[in-house]
């Protein structure tokens, strides 16, 4: 089963939960889609590392063939081309790699070259296969990295845990597209609820079966639990605020591997998730 863990807001516990669920699974694949700020690898400290560069195509001009017609510069929606003093200037960093300029150049003066924008790193930590996407600082879009990352999540025997970035933008969409089930992580604050709504809207748009895990629960009024009740989101787990758990987490230690108590917590959460996935398959949410 492929499980995406997401929350609208950062710092709610996506990585805590996805890392620990992967750790208590028999054999699992953990994919870190938070390519701007990947953190899962800090917990797993994977070994046997291999990295693959991810590149996008950028135009390359042959100035001999270029006659300055400017069709490419006018066509480009991103202003990545400028024709100045009989030379075509190409701006890699705003290019979206659509290939249009190359396609439409009447003189065939444009070709393409590869530009690296980041890497996909893979390694192992115990029985977990750890796959991390890292976008180079300064690059605009991580979408090509997500595409590559998700190729590592085939529907098959192994459990796949996808640690999504915060928010609900196109990168998050790319991360949940192939998921069988989405775990929405929420914290009991007013900020948390507002952002829970966003990802709730997102998973419904994508018609993904989903459930909520409330993290860092304290005594007293829990606005996130209230939201779930009001909107019919099944609460599949509650993790109380726990100083020791927080300390382990802040030291990048995998709680389920350090302490039997937490191994229990995450094992039962994993079991609950499996049950939910089976139920959902029976009802057939998919299109």
């Amino acid at each position: 089963m492929r499980i995406a863990v997401l929350s609208g807001k950062g710092g709610t516990g996506k990585t805590l939960i996805s890392v620990n669920l992967a750790a208590v699974s028999k054999e699992a694949i953990y994919i870190d889609c938070d390519v701007e700020e990947p953190n899962g690898h800090l917990f797993f400290k994977p070994e046997n590392l291999a990295a693959e560069y991810i590149s996008v195509k950028i135009p390359l001009v042959d100035n001999e063939l270029c006659n300055g017609c400017r069709i490419c510069a006018v066509f480009c929606q991103y202003n990545a081309l400028a024709y100045i003093n009989q030379k075509l200037l190409i701006f890699d960093d705003v290019c979206h790699s659509c290939g249009g300029c190359v396609l439409f150049c009447p003189e065939k003066a444009l070709a393409e070259k590869e530009k690296n924008i980041g890497i996909v790193q893979s390694g192992t930590s115990g029985l977990v296969h750890v796959i991390t996407g890292i976008l180079d600082t300064g690059e605009a879009s991580g979408v090509p990295i997500i595409k590559k990352l998700m190729q590592n999540a085939p529907a098959g025997q192994e459990d796949v845990f996808i640690d999504c970035p915060p928010g609900s933008d196109c990168i998050v969409m790319g991360s949940i597209k192939d998921a069988d089930y989405c775990v929405l992580v929420a914290e009991p604050t007013l900020f948390g609820v507002h952002n829970l709504k966003m990802v709730h809207d997102l998973v419904r748009l994508f018609r993904k079966p989903h459930g909520a895990v409330l993290n860092k629960c304290l005594e007293g009024y829990d606005p996130a639990a209230q939201y779930c009740e009001d909107h019919g989101i099944r609460i599949i787990g509650r993790i109380p605020f726990d100083h020791d758990l927080g300390t382990l987490n802040s030291n990048a230690l995998i709680a389920a591997r350090e302490n039997g108590k937490y191994r229990e917590v995450f094992t039962s959460l994993l079991q609950k998730v499996r049950e939910e996935v089976q139920d959902a398959a029976a009802i057939d949410f998919k299109r």
């Binding site: 807001k9 396609l103 605009a140 748009l205 300390t247 802040s250």
Partner: protein
Amino acid sequence: MQQLLILSGKGGTGKTTIASAFIKLSNAKAYADCDVDAPNLHLIMSQSDEPKRSNYYGLSKAKIDLYVCIRCDLCRQNCRFEAIDSGAGGIMYEVYHYACEGCGVCEAICPVGAIKLIPAIAGELILYRGDAVFSTAQLKMGSGTSGLLVTEVKKQMTSVINDADIAIIDGSPGLGCPVIASLNGADMVLIVTEPSVSGISDMERIIKTAAQFQTKIAVCINKYDTNIKNTEIIESFCEFRQLPLAGRIPFDPEAVTAINTGQSIVEVDCLSGQAAREVFDRTMQILVGNG
């Protein structure tokens, strides 16, 4: 007018909690929420009047007119973003709104002019004008153009203020486009971090990004007592890199209670609120150049 931007790299470190405290303490006449993906500042800085709302148009998106379409499949074959699907039976061509990047290749390559790029509403700009000017926005789900919306949020704020000494900007997490756009025009960046390995890693990446803009940078450690060892690591790092420390704020359950009732931590009597005051004073010193 000086702009103070609050960033963090990692989400959940306390940007909005601290930004709202600073706004109250400085009595700022201008402030903005640049976290257009997931704006939160309005939940603390409640406003009495209705704001002005305007549509924000992002990337144009392609639209296929099926009456004109001859099903030649050229558009789908040439779309680099896999945003065109041939649909049911291979004849119901449609553009996936979320994947389309508005490049125009399909529009140009269609032999019968069945495809047009149409401006798409990508979000909403919101402007409150009460005692202070508060500019914010909400990006629509899946939209990829948050950098420009952030620029619009700041522009919206600066275009209506007359006499503000200081503007406080609640930034967004991460270090992509929206963060870069919010760094433009900032006089100082306060980086809020938390003492976790993840927090430290993200802090380093955001410092690297902010340094490219040559603005003043200071660091403050929130929830510092959740891990003293890591707090000390951050403080040594800052000393080594000669980055001023604006201070540290303890973890405080009272902060959660305050936030959940829509109040900032300096409006109630709590430890984090007191510490925030000291961090604020220090930040102001650094901003005006006495630090």
